[in-house]
Amino acid sequence: MESFELFLNSYFLWRDPMIVGVVAGAVCGFLGVYVVLRRIIFVSAALTQISSLGVALTFYLGAYATGALSELIHPFVLSIALTALAALFFALKRDFSRISREGVIGFGFLAASGSVVIIGDRITQGAHDIANILFGSAVVVDPKDVFIIPAAALGVFFIHTIFYKDFIFVSFDEDSARLFKYPVRLLNTVLLVSIAVMVAVCTRALGALPVFAFLALPPLTALFVTERLKLVFALSIMLGVLSAALGYFFSFILSTPTGATMTVCAALFFVIGLAWREIKIS
């Protein structure tokens, strides 16, 4: 009870990271439904690592940049640029010279992860910063994140409200969409780039681990619980929000790493969802 009071009294400390976490949980929970239904969970894993690489590169290049160049080398700019490029590559490139798509995604994930660790070894801030990028700090966030992440989320929700039927159509039955002369490649690209942009801005604020968790676990849990597509989206958003909020709360109370605690909360919901499903079908 004392801890809870302390938490409430520390409102000024957690307000900003809570806003960022909850918005990231909501939008990643929503986008994650596409990630899971299209069976591209490892695309999102690769994108979060590539986004981390963008952030790590910013630290590294920042030490050498001067003048106008230093303004350009901003974590958001590099992170969004690299992640969007990777998303475009995965959306547009279908033929990988007889190597499976999964193989190329694995390459992207591993190359980015390795590079982040090497760059981490070379930057002055050192291992602590890199650990924050990879596993999430989210304890405090840049004040700009409180505006940037909700603004990006609003933009993504706006696009997805207009093209909801079309994104579902190309995700479920690409052949029929092409038969009906839908711009399948463009729709797939917009869908993946919207995921990439949110991954980039959220990874910068929260770290790769919780962002990947929000993209994968809430939609999987929602699919255990309901068989209505629109409810899957609604429930996934709700679970993303709850994972972020409860994760932040428990990390505050228990003094555990914030990103990891958010991830464990999402994983606990997954276990509850799985148990619900098993009980329902038994």
Binding site: R39, F163, K165, F172, S176, L179, F180, L229
Partner: protein
């Protein structure tokens, strides 16, 4: 234009690997075409080439302007992870007439209801597609195909893994749709009996024997290729 679809010197296949050709074919309005051949014989590849889903390796596929397809793919094509309801599935069939960024209108909803009713699955519309029986799935896919008021109905193995009663219901529904809407039908099957009962035109395709023949059902049943393909004489006789 006297044809709906015309194939000129078309070689079918994937990317640069042709599997069969050249194929010349003209599909006119109101006909029921049966496409028959062995498993892996190139039937679905031909169908996808006709639909424009895969480009021909060589040659030209011409289609009548603003031709609308109603497509019934093989039912295991859809990933069961997707919790799409029957209503959502059939609504997608209407998207041939609803451009990107637009939602179904009231008239679209009425047409979708009509398709569900015609296929006899209105009571299943809230169920998920993946939870349906094999026969119900095929009727849902047929409802989806007709929801877009197509000019041509394309069916890829619609009676595969369906029991005899289910097959009869599906084919009766196809016959009814064709009669009421005056559609052209293009149906792939490896059941000769099913096709001879309903088709008036037939194609025989077997890429391993570099074989492609087309003509009226009567011509094709007399063809040595059909006899050779099935290893028996084929003829049509009324069932007592």
């Amino acid at each position: 234009m006297s044809y709906l679809i015309k194939l000129d010197e078309v070689t079918i296949g994937y990317e640069k690997d042709g599997i069969l050709g050249p194929v010349d074919l003209t599909i006119g309005r109101g006909r029921f075409w049966g496409i028959i051949g062995p498993n892996g014989g190139g039937k679905s590849t031909l169908l996808k080439t006709v639909l424009g889903l895969i480009p021909p390796v060589s040659g030209v596929v011409r289609t009548h302007n603003s031709l609308t397809f109603g497509y019934v793919p093989q039912k295991d094509k859809f990933d069961p992870i997707f919790p799409a309801s029957v209503d959502e599935l059939v609504t997608m069939g209407r998207y041939s007439r609803i451009p990107p960024g637009r939602r179904p209108s009231r008239a679209d909803r009425e047409r979708i209801q009509h398709a569900l009713t015609m296929a006899g699955i209105i009571h299943l519309k809230q169920r998920t597609f993946r939870s349906l029986s094999e026969g119900e799935k095929q009727r849902a896919l047929l409802a989806r195909a007709i929801a877009g008021e197509p000019d041509i109905l394309v069916l890829d193995e619609p009676t595969a893994s369906v029991d005899v009663k289910g097959e009869a219901r599906i084919m009766e529904l196809v016959r009814k749709i064709k009669a009421e809407q005056g559609l052209t039908v293009l149906m792939v099957s490896h059941y000769l009996n099913t096709l001879t009962q309903h088709a008036d035109m037939m194609m025989l395709i077997d890429k391993d024997r570099s074989l492609f023949q087309s003509g009226t059902k009567e011509e094709m049943l007399k063809s040595e290729s059909v006899t050779g393909f099935f290893g028996m004489n084929t003829s049509k006789a009324p069932v007592e």
